[in-house]
């Protein structure tokens, strides 16, 4: 079962994620696929130095049993949080776009944005009217 390592699975997940990111037109699902791509990197980093029978990196370790490398694990903690930040922010932007164009279809939004820009000239586009006069949210 040597071939069934976490790294192989991670790369398969990467391929599924990128495929879905290209093929699916729904923006929300595109974001989920983006999350999958990011997760695949994390799984890759965790499993690349892992060997069966390793113990968790918490001392005191049992004698004779190697512990898993704690450094990638510490790195991955940062990566997971970054992943969350990206997913949350991009979701907010998708929500703003859907509010404006009433569609989550990526191709349609793209097309609508381009025609809007072309017809109005990029400078004259009105800012989102709801944002202009609302108060500053950050305290």
């Amino acid at each position: 079962m040597g071939w069934l390592g976490g790294t192989t699975v991670a790369m398969i997940l990467f391929a599924i994620g990128t495929t879905a990111l290209i093929v699916r037109r729904d923006l929300v699902i595109k974001l989920l696929a983006l999350g999958l791509v990011n997760s695949s990197g994390i799984l890759f980093l965790i499993s690349i130095r892992f060997q069966p029978k390793m113990e968790a990196p918490i001392l005191p370790a049992k004698v004779g049993i190697p512990i898993a490398d704690p450094l990638p694990q510490a790195l991955v903690l940062s990566a997971i949080v970054i992943n969350f930040a990206i997913l949350a922010l991009s979701l907010v932007f998708v929500m703003l776009l859907v509010e404006r164009y009433h569609s989550t279809d990526c191709a349609r939004i793209e097309h609508a944005v381009e025609t809007e820009k072309a017809t109005l000239g990029s400078q004259n586009l009105a800012a989102d009217p709801s944002g202009a006069d609302a108060q500053e949210a950050i305290p």
Partner: protein, 267 residues
Amino acid sequence: MISRAVLLLLLPVIAGVSLFQRRRLSAVIGMGLFSLVLAATYLLHSAPDVAVTEAAIGAALVTVIYVLAIRRTGRLLVVGDEVPGLLALEGGEFVGVEVDILAGFARRLGLDLSIQIAPLGDVEAILLHSDADLGAGGLSSEPPARLHRSREHLPTALVRLRPQADDRPTPQESPTTDRCEYSGYFSDLVEAFQRNELIETTLDMARFLAVSRTDISSWRVDRLSTPRGYAFIAAPRRRGLRDQLSAYIDELERDGSLDDMIRRHLP
């Protein structure tokens, strides 16, 4: 060892299945489940810290904000393509006869109206496979078996457009031409017209009127015989909603406000 292998095999399966779901909610929940399995996998890779963090952030927090974002409690979710006069997007706001009807109906039910634009040909499939309640946007043909058609609110007819050079006799209605043939977005239809990319097509009246504002002198226009009407379509388990909507349209017609709406939007 075995459990690790099973989990590792499970991961691509869950990810693949959930990313190719039609319903957004299923996809989100599927990815939440994926995160949970991923956390278990980390645990078996002797990474308990990562497992805890992934479970807390990936499975809980991310899933919750996605569900909050796409939740539909308290919403009347309508899908439909744009049709000028019936349901059109002008400066970010929807206007039209169907919009007025739906807005009033949603107010009566105490729901927020939420309209999403989808290509005409996809509306029925979306109703069948996702969590939308109603289909709208100039639907004049009989839907497939499991969908419910409401009362008609506006009469219409089908129109056959051919190049001027084509001098065959007026076509009769046949199974192939009994519905609006164009299945993409209305905006694409207009562009296709402007660029002369269409060969021959059948349109319903509202779409035809909108298109006819561009130059159609090179087209031969035939009105197909059978009269029909625009109506809404309700999703499979929404028969009750359909009945309420039909009753609401009846009511509008009785007190004359339906005529007002039509006069306001379709001069």
